[in-house]
C-alpha cells in the first residue's frame, strides 16, 4: 500500500514538472503576444504549453486516483489531498474553458497559483496515505468534501478571471483616454501647436498588445460570473451537506464552529456578489472586487481555519 502511496507522490512531482514547463511556455507565449500581438506568427510556445498541461493533468489525475487506492478511501480527507484535488479541478476547468473560445492566455494565471499550491501541498501539507478517524468515516465525506473541492477549483478560476477583468478594464480606460488625448492633440496641431513625438514607450498609453489578445473586460466579467454562479451553487450544496453531516456526527446542524463561520461568510460574500451585478454602480468593477474578496475568504477558510483555529474541522493531519 505504501508503495502505491509513494507512486502517487511521484506522480504529483511529475505533474509539477509538467506544469512547470507549461508555465514557462505560457509565459513565453504571453510575452510573444505582448511584442507581436495576437496576429503575429503562429504561437508555437502555447502549443507546447497546452500539450504539457494536458500531460500534467493526466499525471495529476493518476496521482489523485492512486492516492485514494493507497489510502483505501476517497482521496480528499486531509489538506494535502484536498490541495492536489482542488488544483486538478482548477486546471481541468481551465482546459474546459478552451471549448469554443481561445482562453489559452489564462494558462499562466491558472498554472502559477496551481504550482504554488502543489508546492505547499508536497512540502508542508504532506501526510502519509492512511485511513481516517472514525468521525470522518461516513459517506458524507464523499459528498460534502468532493463538492467543496470542486467549488474551490471553480472559484479559483473565476477569481483569476476577475483579476484579469480589472486589469483589462484599466487598460481599456487608458486606451480611451489616450485616444481622446490624440484627438485633442490633432486638433491642437491643426491649430498650429507643435506635434508631439509619435513614438511612445510600450508600457504607457496605448493598450499593450497582450491585453488586446484577451477578451474585453465585459466578456471576462461574464465568464467569471458564469463560473461564480456554478461555484456558488456548489458552495450552497457544500454548506447544506455539511449541515446534514454535522447533524449526524455532532448532533447539531449548525454550531458556529470557525469552519462554519467562514463557510457562512464565503456564502454571504458570493451572495452579495450575485446581487451586486443587479445593483447600479456595483456591476463590473465592484462586482469583480467582491469575486476576489470571496475567493480570499475561501482561502482563509482553507488555510487559516484548518491550521490556526481551534476548529472541529481540523483535519489537516499535520
Amino acid at each position: 500500500m505504501t508503495d502505491v502511496g509513494q507512486l502517487s507522490t511521484l506522480l504529483i512531482y511529475g505533474t509539477m514538472a509538467a506544469y512547470g514547463v507549461a508555465l514557462v511556455a505560457f509565459a513565453v507565449d504571453l510575452s510573444g503576444l505582448r511584442d507581436r500581438g495576437p496576429k503575429g506568427r503562429p504561437r508555437k510556445a502555447v502549443g507546447i504549453a497546452m500539450s504539457t498541461t494536458t500531460l500534467g493533468v493526466v499525471l495529476h489525475l493518476a496521482g489523485v486516483v492512486l492516492r485514494g487506492v493507497a489510502a483505501g478511501r476517497v482521496p480528499w480527507a486531509n489538506m494535502y489531498e484536498f490541495s492536489i484535488l482542488a488544483t486538478l479541478i482548477a486546471v481541468g476547468v481551465f482546459l474546459g474553458l478552451q471549448r469554443g473560445r481561445d482562453m489559452r492566455f489564462l494558462g499562466t494565471f491558472v498554472l502559477g497559483p496551481t504550482l504554488l499550491l502543489l508546492g505547499i501541498a508536497v512540502s508542508v501539507l504532506y501526510v502519509r496515505a492512511d485511513g481516517v478517524q472514525p468521525i470522518l468515516d461516513s459517506y458524507w465525506l464523499i459528498i460534502h468534501v468532493s463538492i467543496a473541492t470542486i467549488a474551490t477549483g471553480i472559484l479559483t478560476v473565476a477569481a483569476t478571471l476577475s483579476v484579469l477583468q480589472l486589469v483589462q478594464e484599466r487598460a481599456e480606460l487608458r486606451q480611451v483616454e489616450q485616444e481622446a488625448a490624440e484627438v485633442a492633440d490633432r486638433e491642437l496641431v491643426g491649430a498650429g501647436a507643435p506635434a508631439r513625438p509619435a513614438s511612445r514607450g510600450p508600457g504607457r498609453g496605448r493598450r499593450s498588445k497582450v491585453w488586446q489578445a484577451m477578451p474585453n473586460s465585459a466578456e471576462l466579467e461574464r465568464l467569471a460570473f458564469r463560473l461564480n454562479a456554478v461555484g456558488f451553487m456548489l458552495w450552497t450544496f457544500t454548506v447544506v451537506a455539511g449541515a446534514i453531516w454535522a447533524e449526524h456526527a455532532w448532533g447539531r446542524p449548525w454550531g458556529w464552529d470557525p469552519k462554519e463561520v467562514f463557510s457562512f461568510v464565503v456564502w454571504v460574500v458570493y451572495a452579495a456578489y450575485l446581487h451586486s451585478r443587479a445593483t447600479r454602480g456595483w456591476e463590473g468593477r465592484r462586482a469583480a472586487y467582491l469575486s476576489i474578496f470571496g475567493f480570499a475568504c475561501v482561502l482563509a477558510n482553507y488555510f487559516l481555519v484548518n491550521v490556526l483555529f481551534d476548529s472541529m474541522h481540523a483535519y489537516s493531519g499535520l
Partner: protein
C-alpha cells in the same frame, strides 16, 4: 415588468446583453429605486418637499430598506459581523476558552462582554443585521410574487415595433406561405414557450421557472431562519456519561447537563432507559483511532427491549431523540476504605481523556462515613498503557488501549465541601479546605514540605490495594470499565430545516441556470406565395445559447429561399 419594457424598447447601445444581465437577480432595482428616478438620487423628490410627514418618512425608509443597494450593504455587513465569532472564543461553543480569555485580557474582556462579543450570534447587533436583511428580503420578494403571478397569467409581451436593436435577430425569406410558416413556428414553440399570435406577429416567452426559482430560493431562506428559531424554542440537548454495565434513564436527573429550549417542558421527556453493554474501540499501532461503537440495550416506555449500537456518524433514535456517541474513555472501579476499615467509596469514576493516547484525568471524592475521619480526595491520571520512566520519577501513556494500565494519584485530606449543598464539578477537586498529604517521616509521623518530604504519589495497578499513609485507609482498583459520553438531542425543527434547505437549493439552481427568453416572429407575405420572416430574441441575464435557439426556431419555420445575412441590413425598413 417595467424593467423589461425599458430594456425591450431601448437596450443600451454598447452592449444590450450586459444591460439585461443587470436585472439577472430581479426587479429589486426597479422596486427600490423607482424606474422614474434613473440617475437621480432616489430621495430627491422628498428633499424638495419641505414637510415629508411621518408616513412619507416611513415610506422612504421602507423603500431604502428594500432597495438592492441596502440589501447588498446588509449582506456585506452580515459577513463582517459573523467574523469576530471565529477569532474571539464564544461562550456557547467553548466556555472554558472564554474563561481563559477573560483571565488573559482583563482590560479588554469587560468591553467585549458588554458588546456581546463572547456570544456574537445571539448578540443584539448580529440579530439586528439579519432581521433587517430578512425584512428587506421579504419587502422585495412579496411584491415580486404578485408581479410574477400576473406575468404567469398575462399574455407574453407585445411584439416590439423594431427588431434592429436586439442582440439576436434573423431575417429570412421562406418558400412557404405565411399561414404554413406560422403553423410551423407555433409547432416548434409548443411545449417550450408560451406563445400568442397578435396582429403584430408571434410573441413567445419561456423560463418563468427562473423567477419562480428566485422567489422560492428567497422564501426558503426565510424558512431556514424560522426553522432555526423554532429549533431553539422546542428542542432540548443533554449530555450524559454512562459507564459499561450501568444504565441511563431519560429524565433530567440522569443528565450531567441538560439544556432545554424555551418552550420545552422537561416533563415531556420520553421515559426510555438504556444500559451500556459494551464500548468497543479500535486503534492502529500508532494510536490513531479507527472505530468506536457503543452497544446498548434499550427499554422502551412500553416495556419492549431491543439492542442497538451507536457509532460516530450514526446516532441511535430513542423516544424521538437522537443519541450521539460524542466521546469515550475509562472509568476505573475503585473501592476506598477509611481508617476504620469501613467502605467509604465504591464505584466507577470517569477519567476524561486529554490526548491521543488517552492520558486521562479524574478525581475521586471520598466522603467520611465513620466518625472522626477526614474526607479524602484523590486526583491524578489514568495511563492506559503506562511506561514508567527509568528513574521512577514519573510515567506516561503510549497507547490508548489498556495494555498496562496505571493510576497515578495524589492524595488530599480535609473537607471536600460536599456538605454545603452547592453542586460541584465532579472532575475538579476543590482543595480550599484540604491539605495535600505528604510522605510519612521516618518515625511514622505525618510529613510536610517544611520537613523535606515529598507529596504522596500513589501508583496503583488493577487488582492492587494500596495503603494510604497517616492511617487514612486504603484504595483498591477492582476493574477498568469504559464509559461512553453521549449527547442526546431532540429537535423537531430538523425536517423543516432540511426541507427549506432543499427548496432553497432547487430554487437557486432554477434562478441561476434556467434561461428566460423572449422571442418574436413577424411574418409578411412576399411575392410568389413566399413569406419573409423576421425575428428577434432577448434573454434575461447572460445567455450564450440565445442565438442558437433563434436559429432552431427559424430553421423549423420553413425552407429558406435566400439566406440573408443576419445583420441589420436586412432588417431596417
Amino acid at each position: 415588468m417595467a424593467e423589461h419594457e425599458r430594456q425591450a424598447v431601448a437596450p443600451s447601445e454598447a452592449d444590450p446583453t450586459n444591460l439585461s444581465s443587470k436585472a439577472g437577480q430581479g426587479e429589486r432595482l426597479a422596486e427600490g429605486e423607482r424606474p422614474g428616478a434613473d440617475g437621480a438620487a432616489p430621495d430627491r423628490p422628498e428633499v424638495s418637499q419641505p414637510s415629508l410627514g411621518l408616513l412619507g418618512w416611513l415610506r422612504w425608509i421602507w423603500r431604502q430598506l428594500t432597495s438592492m443597494r441596502v440589501a447588498l450593504m446588509l449582506l456585506l455587513l452580515l459577513a463582517v459581523a459573523a467574523l469576530p465569532g471565529s477569532f474571539i472564543p464564544q461562550t456557547p461553543q467553548d466556555p472554558a476558552a472564554v474563561t481563559d480569555f477573560r483571565t488573559d485580557h482583563p482590560a479588554l474582556a469587560p468591553w467585549l462582554d458588554r458588546l456581546g462579543f463572547f456570544d456574537v450570534y445571539s448578540s443584539v447587533w448580529f440579530a439586528a443585521i439579519y432581521l433587517l436583511l430578512f425584512t428587506s428580503l421579504i419587502g422585495c420578494i412579496v411584491p415580486r410574487v404578485a408581479t410574477h403571478w400576473r406575468a404567469l397569467r398575462a399574455r407574453p409581451p407585445r411584439v416590439p415595433r423594431r427588431f434592429d436593436r436586439f442582440p439576436a435577430k434573423r431575417s429570412v425569406l421562406l418558400a412557404e406561405d405565411a399561414d404554413t410558416v406560422e403553423a410551423a413556428v407555433l409547432r416548434r414553440l409548443k411545449g417550450r414557450y408560451r406563445a400568442a399570435v397578435t396582429d403584430r406577429g408571434i410573441t413567445a416567452e419561456r423560463g418563468y421557472l427562473r423567477e419562480t426559482g428566485n422567489i422560492v430560493f428567497h422564501l426558503a431562506l426565510v424558512g431556514v431562519l424560522v426553522s432555526f428559531a423554532a429549533g431553539q424554542l422546542y428542542s432540548y440537548r443533554g449530555q450524559a456519561v454512562v459507564v459499561e454495565g450501568e444504565s441511563f434513564a431519560n429524565s433530567v436527573v440522569d443528565y450531567d447537563s441538560f439544556d432545554p429550549g424555551t418552550f420545552f417542558d422537561s416533563g415531556d421527556l420520553e421515559p426510555f432507559t438504556f444500559t451500556l453493554d459494551e464500548l468497543r474501540s479500535e486503534f492502529t499501532v500508532d494510536a490513531q483511532a479507527r472505530g468506536f461503537g457503543a452497544d446498548v440495550t434499550v427499554t422502551e416506555p412500553g416495556g419492549g427491549t431491543h439492542r442497538d449500537t451507536i457509532v460516530p456518524n450514526e446516532p441511535m433514535n430513542a423516544g424521538g431523540a437522537n443519541v450521539y456517541l460524542s466521546g469515550n474513555g475509562y472509568a476505573p472501579r475503585l473501592t476506598v476504605r477509611d481508617g476504620a476499615g469501613e467502605t467509604a467509596f465504591s464505584g466507577t469514576v470517569p477519567f476524561l481523556p486529554e490526548d491521543d493516547v488517552y492520558t486521562s484525568r479524574g478525581v475521586v471524592k471520598v466522603p467520611d462515613v465513620s466518625g472522626g475521619q477526614e474526607q479524602i480526595g484523590l486526583t491524578g491520571a489514568l495511563l492506559p498503557t503506562a511506561v514508567v520512566e527509568p528513574d521512577g520519577s514519573g510515567a506516561h501513556s503510549v497507547h490508548p488501549q489498556p495494555n498496562a494500565p496505571l493510576l497515578v494519584l495524589t492524595l488530599w485530606a480535609g473537607d471536600l465541601g460536599l456538605d454545603e449543598g452547592v453542586p460541584q464539578n465532579v472532575y475538579v477537586l476543590d482543595t480550599d479546605e484540604m491539605r495535600q498529604v505528604y510522605e510519612e517521616r521516618e518515625d511514622g509521623s505525618p510529613g510536610s514540605a517544611e520537613t523535606g518530604q515529598q507529596p504522596v504519589t500513589l501508583f496503583i495497578e488493577p487488582g492492587q490495594t494500596v495503603q494510604l499513609p497517616e492511617g487514612l485507609g486504603s484504595v483498591s482498583w477492582d476493574g477498568l470499565p469504559r464509559f461512553a459520553a453521549l449527547d442526546l438531542r431532540y429537535d423537531p425543527s430538523l425536517p423543516y430545516l432540511l426541507g427549506s434547505s432543499i427548496a432553497a437549493m432547487l430554487g437557486l439552481f432554477a434562478s441561476l441556470f434556467v434561461p428566460r427568453r423572449r422571442l418574436w416572429v413577424r411574418l409578411e407575405p412576399a411575392a410568389g406565395g413566399r413569406t419573409r420572416l423576421t425575428s428577434a430574441a432577448l434573454a434575461r441575464g447572460d445567455d450564450p445559447g440565445l442565438g442558437r435557439e433563434l436559429d432552431r426556431v427559424v430553421e423549423a419555420a420553413g425552407t429558406p429561399v435566400q439566406n440573408e445575412e443576419t445583420d441589420t441590413k436586412g432588417m431596417s425598413r
